[in-house]
Symmetry: C2
Subunit: 260 residues, 2 copies
Amino acid sequence: MISVTLLGAGNVGTHLFKAIHKSKQVSLKQWYNRSIESISSYKNKVSITDDISTLEEADVYILTVSDDAIADISSQLPFENRLVVHTAGSVNIHNLDKKHKRGVFYPMQSLSKSAEIDFKDVPICIETIDKADYHLLKSLALSLGCPVKKVNSDQRHVLHLAAVFVNNFTNQMYRIAHEITESEATEFDLLKPLIMETARKVQDMSPYMAQTGPAMRGNLKTIKKHLALLKKEQHKDIYNLITQSIQDTHASTPLSNRKS
Amino acid sequence: MISVTLLGAGNVGTHLFKAIHKSKQVSLKQWYNRSIESISSYKNKVSITDDISTLEEADVYILTVSDDAIADISSQLPFENRLVVHTAGSVNIHNLDKKHKRGVFYPMQSLSKSAEIDFKDVPICIETIDKADYHLLKSLALSLGCPVKKVNSDQRHVLHLAAVFVNNFTNQMYRIAHEITESEATEFDLLKPLIMETARKVQDMSPYMAQTGPAMRGNLKTIKKHLALLKKEQHKDIYNLITQSIQDTHASTPLSNRKS
Ligand SMILES: NC(=O)c1ccc[n+]([C@@H]2O[C@H](COP(=O)([O-])OP(=O)(O)OC[C@H]3O[C@@H](n4cnc5c(N)ncnc54)[C@H](OP(=O)(O)O)[C@@H]3O)[C@@H](O)[C@H]2O)c1
Ligand SMILES: NC(=O)c1ccc[n+]([C@@H]2O[C@H](COP(=O)([O-])OP(=O)(O)OC[C@H]3O[C@@H](n4cnc5c(N)ncnc54)[C@H](OP(=O)(O)O)[C@@H]3O)[C@@H](O)[C@H]2O)c1
């Protein structure tokens, strides 16, 4: 049985609470949040607190607080030499106060309080300073049903960067499509099956193999037509830059072999 | 019963063949392809030909040939005043020879011969010159199990442009993530659940509401770290431009309300 104390009750904290609460191999000691109101409805399920000095002993303390609060909260913890981890993709492990055994327990997923998620779809990237701590965190992640990946700091930062491309930047592509369809009285809804299929395709095919379209085919007539349709300069810039990127990626594929 | 003759046997032609073959309300008269070999394995299921002069009467002729071949093939058809449609997102309806009744039957989906697709996920955008032809094409699409949307030329071109953003450009975001993860000995596979979830989120939430991340939060420290990690100048340019686009989109949301 692994005992956990959770700090923070935002998107990540709330999902972790639910997963730990469900797990038979993990027990939740305490749940701390700066503002007690956001967790008070859980008080019959777990011991809650907003007083950091009351934290009791646990195998691991998971800090799911905002990136900028990690260093501060880790210093405030009223003990030392216990395992303390944060959940951020781009915060250095050494931001945690060095009085602790330290680790990172980074969930590679987009978590919102309001959206359900299956933890089998939440790969946990684990980084620790001591090897022994890795094994504990690995057991913890597996107990919650998560896939696990051991990473070093550089790899974690690269994964976070890659996540920005496939999540935030992809979502901005959807947003631009939303803007241009709505402004022309067509429906963004029509694009939803295509959005799902585009994501599904790369589940078992490389993005390189999955590419199609006018940029890849070098279809200048269509590209010119599209640029003329775009009203915002910034959208034209994005169209040009990503078209160029696609063409550079596929520069060595003969045009006649490119799928339409 | 609607009778159809299909021309072309690429990605779209092959999927339409299968859907028509399965449908009880649609009969396939003939299947034409320039190179007969690619359809010869179907000869027990449908009358096949590579001789355009042998085409018999049908309610509708669907041209699923490459964009550049549409005008030419439509002129070669050995009849007039029958309904002829093409399936392209960005080809003008008037590229079809004016001796025909003309229409467009544009599937808003990414179709590959090799990948199965459920036709309920293939919205058909229909454009016709005569209203009566619209009703026939609508019945045809519904008979194949497709959602239907009536569009005019401008709307169809805008939808095709939006499809480039959510399909080709999104896929290039995946590609860049693939490049940067592979070059740093991490695994693109770890990103796959996030890719699916990002697509799933906008099925019932606007991309505006779904946005998160360092660009939206104005987290300059992380943005700088990411730029330093990117090795290709072009990737830096893309990172900067899309970060700017996200910030412009959310400029009116106070920073404190932006989700992390
Ligand atoms: N959301 C995701 O998809 C995701 C994915 C991977 C990693 N992460 C990482 O997980 C961590 C939490 O993210 P989140 O999305 O859960 O954030 P969030 O929803 O904004 O929640 C932030 C939490 O931090 C607390 N907090 C903020 N500043 C604090 C301070 N100065 N002192 C004490 N507590 C403070 C908040 O307390 P109050 O309730 O009192 O405001 C809240 O409990 C971050 O490091 C983030 O980078 C997030
Ligand atoms: N694939 C998609 O996801 C998709 C989605 C929406 C719309 N579309 C549109 O649908 C149409 C077909 O696309 P596709 O992906 O099916 O293309 P494709 O797989 O490349 O197939 C092209 C077809 O056109 C034929 N063809 C090409 N040039 C010809 C010529 N000069 N004369 C006669 N036949 C010729 C080819 O015949 P051979 O077999 O003899 O080479 C083949 O049957 C295009 O207008 C495209 O814009 C495609």
